[in-house]
Symmetry: C2
């Protein structure tokens, strides 16, 4: 079978040119056109032999007998992993991103802008997860009495963001009592990360026997209510989905519909993006690699971004598998870095 043996320098060079050509033209590429466009001086016939091998290895595929070849997901994968020559962004392209992401205070706005920028520069769909709250630190918590046993819990994180949640307490508290509880919690937990706080609270609840007075007990149980599974709110911002409508790969309405439904339900996208959180740097899912049928004809190029040197989110681009990876990868990479920079607390204090 000599499979491995066949994958010599020449075959790889040929596969590279084939993928490049298919990406730029969108048509199955045949032996004649490859013979002209590759550096190698080979006749179409020779190229046909090589292509036949590539097909046997599952790297390319022929839509029908007399069409050229098209890369498979596996072919793209090999291309991206070992053949791709990334084209760094030029000055102008950098500037667009840089200007777009500077001078914005609000976290939500920055994230939104990043997503929009990604979709604009790539003409595909841009996606950015909201920064994980788990890792941000609690600055301040406050309780406000509403009616009866309803209490509004407000917590400020990271200097910037304010979140609130209505909790139902077991009994009615006076404003003073609530203030006292908040003071207690602030004195202990302020500055710690939300996930740490959550853990600590659960721990404290379990050893109630400890020498805690009623007030402290109340405070802890309220904090428990305030922080309980709030992380479900994991979310992302998607922009430029409509760009995808222009790709012939998605001209089929059922396919398009499924894709947009997946966008709307968010679940699968979140799951997919979560996978990218684990590793640092640029990651790529090509076609069926994602594991979701809906994305069979799509690729996802992502990178992580950080605050205080901790990875807090993912951003990326969704487009057809036939995308200009050599350009998309640096775009995603650079945007991730710029977003990190934009979100990090400025060193120059006011």
């Amino acid at each position: 079978m000599a499979n491995k043996q066949k994958l010599n320098e020449r075959s790889l060079q040929l596969l590279k040119t084939l993928v490049e050509r298919y990406i730029s033209e969108g048509q199955p590429v045949g032996s004649r056109s490859l013979s002209k466009n590759s550096q190698l001086q080979l006749s179409p016939a020779t190229i046909r032999n090589v292509m036949s091998d590539l097909e046997e290895l599952g790297l390319v595929h022929s839509p029908h007998t007399s069409a050229g070849r098209v890369p498979t997901a596996k072919g793209y994968r090999l291309f991206v992993d070992s053949l791709l020559t990334v084209k760094p962004l030029d000055k102008e392209e950098m500037d667009v991103l840089q200007h777009g992401l500077e001078n914005d205070e609000d976290e939500a706005k920055i994230v939104d802008k990043a997503s929009r920028l990604l979709s604009e520069v790539t003409q595909m769909a841009g996606v950015v997860t909201l920064p994980r709250r788990e890792l941000v630190s609690l600055r301040h918590i406050e309780f406000l009495p509403l009616s009866n046993t309803r209490v509004l819990a407000i917590f400020v994180t990271n200097e910037q963001e304010v979140h609130n949640k209505i909790i139902h307490t077991s009994k009615q508290f006076s404003t003073a009592k609530l203030q006292e509880a908040a003071n207690y919690l602030n004195s202990i937990y302020s500055g710690q990360s939300l996930s740490d706080v959550r853990q600590a609270i659960v721990a404290e609840m379990q050893q109630t026997q400890k020498q805690m007075n009623q007030a402290m007990l109340d405070a802890v149980s309220m904090a428990h209510l305030a922080f309980e599974n709030d992380q479900v709110k994991e979310d992302f911002v998607l922009s430029g989905e409509t760009n995808l409508m222009d790709f012939s790969e998605l001209a089929d309405m059922t396919l398009l519909r499924q894709l947009f439904e997946a966008f709307g339900q968010k679940r699968s996208i979140i799951h997919l993006l979560d996978k990218c959180l684990e590793a640092d740097g640029v990651q790529i899912f090509i076609g069926e690699e994602s594991g979701y049928d809906v994305f069979d004809c799509c690729s996802l190029v992502t990178s992580t971004y950080s605050v205080n040197d901790q990875i807090v989110g993912v951003l990326g681009v969704i487009g057809p598998t036939r995308m200009a990876y050599e350009k998309i990868i640096p775009y995603v990479d650079v945007t991730a870095k710029l977003l990190s920079a934009a979100l990090n607390p400025k060193t120059v204090a006011p």
Copy 2:
């Protein structure tokens, strides 16, 4: 020309059957099929004459010489205004809506559910505006110091909803001072509607000369910052957009793209929905009537919903002009009423 004269009972009856038939079949309807399906016992030839008149009046239109007729927007309008026989919902259909909208506390969740229900029962796109804040009453305002001159303003409206905003004050305030300011504002404005509060504040700011002490002055100027143009946040919840992809009217990708872009930008939709706020009850925009090119092949059926007998929002359904109005109208109507009921403070207080 005898235009008016021609629009006798018979022509109207024929137009009605034509529209009904076109809505259910989706094919241009010809004289033969009309002759069979209308109650009138008329030969195709006679019907052709009548249709010719209808065409002259701009009520129907022929795609090409040997196709049947299709209603125009004007034709649909006449149909909807004077010919339509609305089919009230049966028990089962009512139940779906009723069960879907009961037992939910959170305003946002209710609105979301309503939108989803609308899209599910109609198999088109459902839309619900968030209740206008202008008309809700302020219950409580609170200020929380952040760093330096940044202050977090929190206001609770309507018992239910909590909003917050970071404001930048001119100088630094102590927690006590902020508390004092909040107390002052609460004593004066609590219970009034947000728009009233906003007006009153602007008025107070203008006659600064009055016998106000510095604390009151500070309070008012902070309130001004907290409430300034926050109404831009007018928003709506759209569901089931993807349902629209199944309609042949929207098979054209450029059209579909424009429509989805309009959904994403929200501006035009908000504007359109705002128009519906003015009148009470069900309103309908058919095709080009909306004034937005994107909606030329769509119709919008809306109704208003209320809290405390005040109209606070609009909900509706977006679909192709060729929709089953006799069913959609009651669906929208009933959903609006159920939503009003769900949002109104329960009379049985805890």
